[in-house]
Structure formats: C-alpha cells, structure tokens
Amino acid sequence: MKSFIPREVETLWTLFTAPTVWALHFLVCYATVAVFCAKGLASEVSFDTVRIALGVVTVLALAMIVLSAWLAWRQWGFGAADPPHDEATRNARTLFQGFATLLLSGLSFVAVLYMAIPMIFIAECQS
C-alpha cells in the first residue's frame, strides 16, 4: 500500500511550509470576518457559525503544521544527532534543514493558536 505521507524531497522550499500555512490561515480568518462584518451578513448567517467554520479551518491548519513538523522531524533523523549541524556534508545540510523546519513548525503552531484566541472571546462584529 502506498503511504500518504510524502517522500523526503531535496528542496529549500519545505522550510517555508509551516509559516505559509500560518499565512493562509491568517488570510482566511481575516477575510472571512471582514466580509461578514462589512457586508452585514449577520441576518443570514449567525456569527457563531462563522466561528465554528473558522474553528474547523484552524484545526485543519494545525493538523497541516503538525504534519510538516513530523516530516521535519523525520528529515532531522528523529533527533538522532544534535545541532549545530555545521559539517561540510550533505547529511549535515539535510539535518540542518530538518531542524530549522521543525523549529519553524513550532513557531507557526503557536502563532496559529494565538490567532484562534480572539475567536473564542469575541462574539460579534462590534467595532
């Protein structure tokens, strides 16, 4: 059976996965609420529905970040070697990428959680 988990790839771009997920989550939350409030849609859809929908988006975003973190952890050799990973080898370069990606996943996870806090406490479009 083919695994759904992506194979390890050789590229610089994976470093940016988790922060990109944060950025998309941020945009979706901001745009949804901005349109909802500016268009006065409260008569058609309740604010709670919006909160629940964005809650689902948040869980999805967190899940993607966790996946990115797991991939990074694998690239880091599941923590088999310690930083600084400053040897002049391909292996050290890969471990460095894994470790840096793992750290960024952690930061992005926290940043997404921060974004979720307002949605717990604010219940209307009051300005």
Binding site: A34, D86, S127
Partner: protein, 838 residues
C-alpha cells in the same frame, strides 16, 4: 574533499594577476562613474544614503528647536509640516532601506566567495535611480514644495490639491521610482545568495548575514508592490480625479491605509533584520566563537519575515474596524515578539559562551540592543488595542518608533561601519573617537526620546508645530531638545572620525578583528574581490580551514585567471553549492546611467504634468533598456565550456530554471504579481463597502472581457509552442512568435474595449475607476509581453537566439505564465464576477 589544488609558479601568478586586474579594472577619470563593480556601487550607495540621513537629521534638529519652548515661532507651521514629512520619508525610504541594499551589494560577493553579484548593471541602475529620485524628493524643500502631509500621506488630506500641493506628487512619483530600485536590489540579492555561493558553501554553512538578507529580499517582493499599487491609485486620483479615496463618489480613504501599511509594517522588519544581520556577524567575532543556535537564527529570520505581514492593521486600531479584526492583528503582533526575542537571546548566549572583547562595534551593538529592547517592550504595549487607543498619534508612539528604529537599525549600522571600515579602506577607525561618539549618541538618544513617553502619555499629539505652556509638556520638550543636540554631537563625532585623515597602518593586516568569515580574505586594494574562488567547508572558514588565505591569494582555487578577458564568476547549486556554471557578468557601461536618467525624467516630468516631455523620456528609457538587453544579456559565447581551474570545465551559457536570468524573471514577476493582487484586493475592498457595487454604474459587459481572456490564453499557448518549436529549428518558432504577437495585440484591444465601449466614466464613481485601472494594468502587461515576443523574434532572425542558446524564449515563456494568470484573473473578475455578485 580530496581535490588537487592548483599550483602556479610566481611568474604564472603574476601573469594571472595582470589579466585579472585588467578585466576588473575600475575606469579612471570621468568614466569612473560608469563603473558597475559591486565595491564601487556599494560604496556610492552607502555614502549617498548616509548623506540623506544627515540631511534628515538636520530636519529633526529644526523640529526640536521649534518644540524646545511653548508658543515658539522659530519656523512656520508650513515649514514644520514639510520638515516632519521629509524627515520621516527620507529616513525610511532614502536611508534605512537603501543603506541595507548598499551593505548587501558591497559585502555579499566577498562573504559568499563570489567575484560579483549576478547582475552588476542592475545594481548600478538601481543606484542611479535612487540618487536621482532621492535628490528630487529632498530638493523640494528648498522650493517650499516638499510633501507636507506626513510620511504616510493619508487621504483625504493628501489628495486635497489646495492643501497638499505638488509635494504629494513629488512624494508619490519620487518614491515609486525608488521602490523600483529596491525591487531591483531584491532580485540581485536573492539570485546572488541562492546561486553565487562559493563551492561547498552549503545552506547550513551560509553566513548568517546571507540568511537574513535572503529573507529580507523576499519580504521586499511582497511588501513594496502593494505600495506601488497604492501609489498608482493615489496618483490617478490626484492627476485625473479618479475617485479611489473620495468617499463622496464611492471611494474610501481606508484602502490607502491598508495598502500603505501592508507595505509599512513589513518595512520595519525589512529595516531591522539586515541590521541584526550585521550583529550576527559582529557578535561571534568579538566573542571569538561560532554563533550559538545557528538554526534558531534561521527560525527567527524566517519567522519574523512571515509574521511581519500579519501586523499591518495595528497601525489602524482607531479606524473603526470590527474588534475581532483588530484582535487578529493584535495576536500576530504579540506573536512576532517570539522570534524577535529569540535573536536577542542567541546573541546573549553567544556572548556568555565566549570571551567578549568590548570594542567599539560591540559597544554600539550592545547599546543598540538595549535601546531596541525598550522599544520592543513599548511595542508589546501598543500592540494591545485598549492601550493603543490611548497612545495612538501621541508622542508615546514617536518615542516607541525611534527606540525601535534607532536601536534596531542606526546603532547596529554604525557598529557595522566601525567593524567593516578596515574591510573597505584597509584602516581602522579610532577607538577613542568611537567611544566618545558612542556615549554621546547613547546618552543623547535616551535624553531625547525617553521623555517623549511621558509627554505622549500626557496627551501631546505628534506633528503639532507648537503647544501652549503650562499643560505639562514644557519640561519634557526642553529636555528632549537638549538631548537631540547631544545626540547630534555624537553623530558628528562619528562623521568626523570617518573623514579625518588617517595614518597607514604599519603592516598589511587584512583581518584586523580576527574574524572567521570569508570576506576578510579580500584585499581592498584590488577590485577583483576573491583572488581565486575557494572551496568552503566551514561556517567560519578563516578559523577552521588552515592556509585558506594563502591558498586563495596564490590562486590555488577556482577561476584563478581571466584568459577570456571577460568578467567571470561561479554559479553553484542552491542546496549544496556544487559548481554548475561559469557566469559572465556585465562590465562598465553608460547604458545603466542613461536608462536611470531617462526613467527619472519620466517620473519628474509626470510630477509637473509635462506630457510631451514624459513621452520623450519614456521613449528614451525604452530604447536604452532594449539596447542594454540586446547587447548585454544572453550573448552566445565563443566556446560552450571553459576551464575554471582545478581540472574542471563548466558551461558558460545555460538556460531555463538553471540560469540566473530565469530566476530574475521569476522573482520580478512574483513582485509584479503582488502589486496586481493588491489592485484586485482594492476591487473587492470596494465591493465589501457597497451593497450594489457592480450595478452602481455601467459595467464592462461580458463579451469583451471574455474575448480578452481567451485571446490572452491563446497568446500564452502560442508562446509556449514557440519555445518548444525553437528546439527543433528557427522556422516554426518564428511563425509561432509572429502569430503570438498578433494575438497579443488583438487581446490588448479587446481588454480595453469593454470599459471603453460601455462608456464607463472613471471620474464618476469608484466602480468604473477600479475597472479601468485593473484593465489598464493587464493590458500594459500584455503590451510588454508583445514586445518580448517581438524581441525573441528579432533575436531569432539575427541569429542571437538559436535552438541551443534559447535563454530569451525561455524567460519570455516564464513571463507569459504570469501574464496568462494575470489576464485570467483580471477578466474573470471584471467580466464574470458582476454576474454572480448580484
């Protein structure tokens, strides 16, 4: 690596050096100014930016004199308005951003072990654009015509002709011109860092400075274009009365605030990160050990880079947005404190783990960090919405932003100048003068700006030209003014130290601080940069690789010679820095200066609404750029491969994603796409504030937008076809290109036909105005795309583009990917969105 290093006799070495010197020679006399070498451009850039800083500093002193006592009439309200607007504008746009471009252009090649960045003429063009735009903007104050509406130019104040006068146009056009220079620098820096590192310098061995600069250049691509889009809307309103920010005709001044701060907040980090990057080079040197937590710095740089884009609304907390929106931005503003803090702790840990030498650069660095931390803490305060409501637009904010910018940027830059002065000139600056300058600046700064927290909390608004006595502001202002002159005395001490005559050091010491990074192998007396391009196996090669300096100087590594008589540097792979190409870069040239002057002429003539002059300059610009590209880019080499030393031969010409030109196009188009996205954001922003947005006035209809969409897609397909056919021979490719050119022109007419035939009047309401501007944007890009198709056709006919040497068509095809995307989005939004939105 067990590679055999080169071994040359003294005679061979002398001959090599003679050839290298000739190839990289800086022209003499008046032709000196045609130089494009990174060391000259970097130096001019830096000196110019610094001169602008001193000018803006003098404006700051003028303001402090005026505010020293209540009810003062030292300068008029109008001059005060011009002074604070120009002070902010110049400090941000003409000093903080360009100085980092200067440092990057100057240092990066040496740090990365390259002879030169990949597009030296682009750097030169950027510098000349910056100089012309900067002098134009600064000079306006001597004609009482400087911008006077504050450095963020809020409408409706700044769109009011009566109040803002020509100053607003000077601001908009002068700065748009400089933004072009910044984007040019970003392209240069990204491609340089990704592809021009010394062999073996894998991404885990890159100097910290390069990591930071890579992120910053990426941020520029997403931060500057929204401002360019905003400038276009703003100037259309001022020049032709298109009501983008006029609420009486459906516009909204808030859109400007959004676009400005989507640029403006990342801008703070665009300024801050390079300065911290300098610290990341200085701290390990003076702790005499590698940095602790290299990966953590990468986390901090990348993390800050991303999060800084989620902060812009914290400048707009008092505009009446829904509280939940404010809370999102408040949350992101708090989150960005995490990566920012990580960097500070990394520096502290490095200092604790090593033995710190408290030299002048360290003094400025440490002093700057202390100031920055205070500014960061008040930043956390104003990121909280309720506190911001109290402090907004008061001197508390003035204090906060100066703590952040001077601590996070000016002090580290001065530290960097003390640190790198021997690298530039071979001589050290004075220790005693440096310490005096530091203490005057440090004390003067705090005496100036700390009291502003209190005058702000006592309600003093920013930007007032005077104030009544006995409302509790007098003493704070007087203290601030005294401090400002102490601070200025410190800056003056530093400037005198730079320019006073210095004795030659007794012995030639290339690495006076015992630093570990590669740039310190360069001899400032030679303009070739690296004598030979070394193989790197460490983050601190000068500490860890024995005999490196001697081997480089003996020409034992790559490219020890310049037999071809051309300027050559190595291109290596992105992740592991394996050599893949010997790149030839442009040499001295007039064309960059002419192109910059002509483009400057376009912007300046536009300011004064001199339409004929504008068109003349635009034509000159066009000819200059075509001349530049035609003769300077993608020449077919005399031999396919060249000996780069160490027994290796590498291709001279590569095309597609392997080439630096392809990447430059890709990066430019990402920035261009961001500007386009900002215009589309504008369309939907207006849609959200109007219930009946697309039915308020005539729309462009469905037929013509759909026709334009289809035609542009056909032109795209034909361009791709031309690329494929070109591999088989020129005939099919020429045919496809001719067809593509014809279709592109037809598409451009179709693109404008919708709004034109439906008689949409852009001055009547914001709906027709935004439709027109989006259509014009896309059609302009279509015309540029058509010119590119014609260019490829001409290159093919003249034999400058062949099946084997096909860089031109590959880069143009890449452009057309973006073009097709732009066209599909544009015409789907303009033609089809009105159908679903009603």
């Amino acid at each position: 690596m067990t590679m055999e290093l080169g071994n040359f006799s003294p005679e061979e070495r002398a001959a090599q050096e003679e050839r290298l010197r000739k190839v990289w020679e800086t022209p003499k006399g008046i032709r000196y100014w045609t130089s494009v070498n990174n060391s000259e451009i970097g130096l001019w850039y830096g000196v110019t930016a610094f001169a602008f800083m001193l000018f803006a500093g003098l404006l700051g002193l003028l303001m402090r004199l005026q505010l020293a006592v209540p009810e003062n009439d030292f300068i008029s309200a109008e001059l005060f308005n011009q002074a604070f607007t120009l002070h902010g504008t110049v400090m941000m746009f003409l000093f903080a951003v360009p100085i980092f471009e200067a440092v990057a252009i100057f240092l990066l090649p040496s740090m990365l072990g390259a002879r030169e960045l990949p597009f030296p003429r682009l750097s030169a063009f950027g510098f000349w654009s910056f100089l012309i735009g900067g002098v134009f903007v600064c000079g306006s104050i001597f004609f009482n015509a400087a911008p006077n509406a504050g450095w963020f130019m809020y409408p409706p104040l700044a769109t009011d002709d009566e109040y803002a006068g020509i100053g607003a146009d000077i601001w908009l056009l002068g700065l748009s011109f400089i933004e072009v220079a910044s984007i040019a620098a970003a392209v240069e820096i990204i491609v340089g860092i990704m592809k021009c590192r010394a062999p073996g310098m894998r991404i885990n061995l890159m100097p910290m400075f390069a990591w930071y600069l890579l992120i910053v250049a990426g941020m520029i691509l997403f931060a500057f274009p929204p401002l360019i889009a905003g400038d276009i809307l703003f100037e259309m309103e001022r020049m032709f009365d298109w009501p983008f920010f006029d609420a009486t005709r459906g516009g909204d001044p808030l859109l400007w605030q959004h676009l400005f701060w989507i640029f403006g907040h990342p801008e703070v980090y665009i300024i801050f990160l390079p300065a911290i990057a300098l610290m990341a080079m200085i701290v390990p040197t003076f702790s005499q050990r590698p940095i602790v937590g290299y990966s953590w710095i990468v986390l901090a740089a990348v993390g800050t880079g991303f999060l800084s884009f989620g902060l812009w609304v914290h400048h707009m907390f008092t505009t009446g947005l829904p509280q939940i929106s404010l809370a999102f931005f408040s949350a992101a503003s708090e989150a960005v404190a995490i990566p920012t803090g990580v960097q500070i702790f990394v520096f502290i840990a490095t200092m604790l783990a090593g033995r710190v030498i408290f030299s002048v650069p360290m003094l400025f660095g440490a002093g700057g960090l202390i100031i920055f931390v205070i500014g960061g803490l008040t930043g956390v305060m104003v990121a909280l919405v309720p506190f911001d409501w109290q402090a907004h637009d008061t001197y508390f904010i003035v204090a906060h932003l100066h703590y952040v910018l001077i601590g996070g940027m000016l002090f580290p830059v001065v530290a960097g100048i003390y640190y790198y002065f021997p690298f530039v000139t071979g001589k050290k600056l004075s220790d005693a003068w440096g310490r005096t300058a530091f203490w005057l600046m440090f004390v003067g700064f705090n005496v100036t700006f700390f009291p502003m927290h209190f005058s702000g909390l006592r309600g003093m608004p920013r930007r007032v030209f005077t104030y009544p006595e006995d409302i509790g502001w007098d003493w704070f202002n007087l203290i601030s003014s005294i401090g400002a002159f102490v601070f200025a005395a410190g800056v003056a001490t530093f400037v005198i130290d730079i320019f006073r005559p210095k004795q030659q050091p007794a012995w030639r010491d290339l690495n006076p601080w015992n630093s570990g990074t590669l740039e310190w192998t360069n001899d400032p007396a030679e303009s070739w940069g690296m004598r030979s391009v070394p193989i790197i196996t460490s983050r601190y090669p000068l500490w860890d690789q024995p005999n490196l300096q001697a081997d480089i100087e003996a020409g034992r590594f790559y490219l020890p010679d310049a037999k071809s008589g051309k300027r050559e540097t190595l291109v290596t792979s992105v992740l592991d820095a394996k050599p893949i190409q010997c790149l030839r870069v442009g040499g001295v040239s007039y064309v960059t200066i002419i192109a910059a002057i002509a483009l400057g002429g376009v912007f300046i003539a536009l300011t004064f609404k001199l339409w004929i002059t504008t068109i003349v300059f635009a034509i000159i610009t066009f000819i200059a750029i075509i001349h530049w590209l035609w003769n300077g880019t993608a020449p077919i080499p005399e031999v396919p491969e060249i000996d780069v030393g160490l027994g290796e031969t590498l291709p001279i010409y590569v095309s597609g994603p392997a080439s630096v030109g392809w990447w430059a196009m890709f990066i430019t188009m990402v920035g261009d796409g961001t500007a386009f996205a900002s215009l589309i954001f504008g369309y939907f922003f207006y849609w959200t504030i109007h219930d009946d947005f697309t039915t308020i006035a005539n729309g462009p209809g469905v037929l013509w937008p759909v026709a334009a969409l289809v035609l542009y897609v056909i032109a795209w397909v034909l361009t791709l076809l031309a690329r494929e056919l070109n591999e088989k021979g020129p005939r099919g490719a020429r045919l496809a290109l001719t067809a593509a050119l014809a279709v592109s022109i037809a598409a451009s007419f179709a693109g404008l036909a919708g709004p034109y035939l439906h008689e949409m009047d852009p001055t009547s309401h914001v709906y027709p105005a935004i439709v027109w501007i989006v259509a014009i944007w896309t059609v302009t890009h279509g015309i540029v795309g058509a010119i590119m198709q014609g260019y490829c056709l001409a290159r093919s006919i003249t034999g400058r583009m062949t099946a084997e040497y096909d860089q031109d068509i590959r880069n143009v095809a890449l452009y057309w990917h973006f073009m097709a995307f732009t066209a599909v989005v544009t015409f789907a939004v303009l033609g089809l969105f009105p159908l679903v939105s009603t």
